[in-house]
Amino acid sequence: MELIDSATRAQTAMDEALGSEKMIINMGPQHPSTHGVLRVVLELDGEEVVNVWPDIGYLHRGDEKIAENMTYTQFIPYTDRLDYLAPLANNVTYAYAVEKLMGMDVPPRCKYIRVICAELARISSHLLGLGSFAMDIGAMTVFLYLFREREKIYDMAECISGARFTTSYTRIGGLARDLTPEFIPMLRKFLKEFPATVDETDKLLTRNRIFCERTRGIGVLTKADAIDLGVTGPCLRGSGVDWDIRKSHPYSSYEDFDFEVPIGSVGDSYDRYLCRMEEMRQSVRILQQAVDNLPDGPVNSPDAKILLPDKEAVLTKMEELIHHFINVTEGINAPPGEIYFSAENPKGELGFFIVSKGGGTPHRLKIRAPSFVNLQALPVMARGHMMSDMVTILASIDFVMGECDR
């Protein structure tokens, strides 16, 4: 039996009298603040969010179905379009996943170049994530400053792969081509100039009164909730969990690099912002080491059965011609088996679960998308906050619908 005191009785009587009906509002798939085609159905009690139901699937293109009908190499351009803000990172992760299935290794130069690609993609993704985060809160200058740096990364991506955006740079067993001579000076120049922009953004936002008021304590995700919901990436580290795949299961020679992983304490939007800012600085550190210690040597693995042979050999010798033909038409011959490989993408843990029954096409390719899993935490983060905090929380999760819906 409960003892209801007079204050509670008065409160409930007032609530009934005021008739607080909850509103169900649609934050439609077409909205400037939902960061892509995400539909959020909100139940509001006045200004306060009572419940949130994210509705995804507006960018579903059937990537997993398509993968079952293509060879492993043919699927590489589709991986560009998963997390389309960091296409190089997806290329690298997919290449390592298929190489794990094949049981092959790549030369050290290839690994270092892939680290350079992944870290450039991380910087690019965080620049956009933080830029749009700041813009949603109102600091529009930051958006433009950070996008100016993204242009430099796009120029480097164009130098390395030919395309600014959808790079399709890696291949199974190596890379599409080695670095051009212009790339390293471009990268060095970028590494010299970029930290100044991060510092400038820091000065504009980190101790900014309005920014702090709008992000501190907003969208708190506790450590236990984060682990239970499978959240990964800066969202998980912002909640205080020390886990980064680059440190716990180093791939692509990450064990050679000296860098730190920023961990938050409270798990609010401010912590996630700080994690991303610091990750950008650490990425610069990794890039500097990669560029200084870049090994020489071949970029592609010597296994000619997996990679396409040299064109001269294809046009003059019989065996290479046959290999070229079979690789292009049937695809590489993967052994039957299943693997799961995951890497630390800018948004979180991007994983590929490949079931192969032999042959050149996968039987099942499941893409474990970090944004899909991180978005599940949205109701937990948003309950009890106000409508304007909804925008902050959505931006701080930093998801991208391309990989969420696949």
Partner: protein
């Protein structure tokens, strides 16, 4: 605790329900029956510290029996190791116990497995389609669903074919008949420059092109 140690503990607890572990490229996977999956997952989470469910996916092995399979990829943050559980699901009885009570992240993963394959999950708090719209009749990732897709009715929206009135017919308000000379004179067209407009006014006899 390595994956092998976890499998040994599982074998001790659940005896012959656990298959022999399969090792491929350094990963361990075991096949478990679907009646025991919830209990096994709970055991692995509490006793073996597999606190994170990294992925849950359905697989369609068309032509084999049992046709479907649900794969659980578990991860232990404390021991830094993965483990994979495979649960065969036959086509006649496509129901598996949900593990949402063990890991909250299974919620959306199971919804996706239901959406894409039609595998139902018992005791799931909200088993609805997640990527395709509600009311979509097929399960797209099944092997007998063609890559090009099958025609399906689009979801009901606020503006639907039967709720929208088509625009009023000719002669109604705000509808001008096009192409007749009278309409061109009634609604003069936008001219490029003021000079052209002036010319029209000073030389009204100039024939207008239709």
């Amino acid at each position: 605790m390595t994956p092998e140690a976890a499998i040994d503990r599982l074998k001790a607890q659940f005896s012959n329900a656990i298959s022999a572990p399969v090792e491929f490229r350094g990963e361990f996977s075991i096949t478990v029956p679907r009646e025991k999956i919830a209990a096994i997952c709970q055991f692995l989470k509490t006793e073996c510290d597999f606190d994170m469910l990294t992925d849950l996916s359905g697989v369609d092995n068309y032509g084999e029996d049992p046709r479907y399979e649900v794969d659980y990829i578990l991860y232990s943050l404390t021991h830094r190791c993965h483990l994979r559980l495979k649960v065969p699901v036959s086509e006649e009885d496509m129901i598996v116990d949900s593990v949402t009570s063990v890991w909250g992240t299974a919620n959306w993963h199971e919804r996706e497995a239901f959406d894409m394959f039609g595998i139902r999950f018992r005791n799931h708090p909200n088993l609805k389609r997640i990527i395709m719209w509600e009311g979509y009749p097929y399960h797209p990732l099944r092997k007998d669903f063609p890559l090009a897709g099958l025609p399906a009715e689009l979801p009901e929206t606020a503006v639907n074919a039967d709720t929208v009135r088509s625009a009023p017919m000719l002669g109604g308000p705000f509808v001008a008949a096009s192409g007749t000379r009278s309409s061109i004179r009634r609604e003069p067209r936008q001219y490029d420059t003021m000079a052209e407009q002036e010319e029209k006014q000073t030389h009204p006899t100039k024939k207008e092109s239709v």
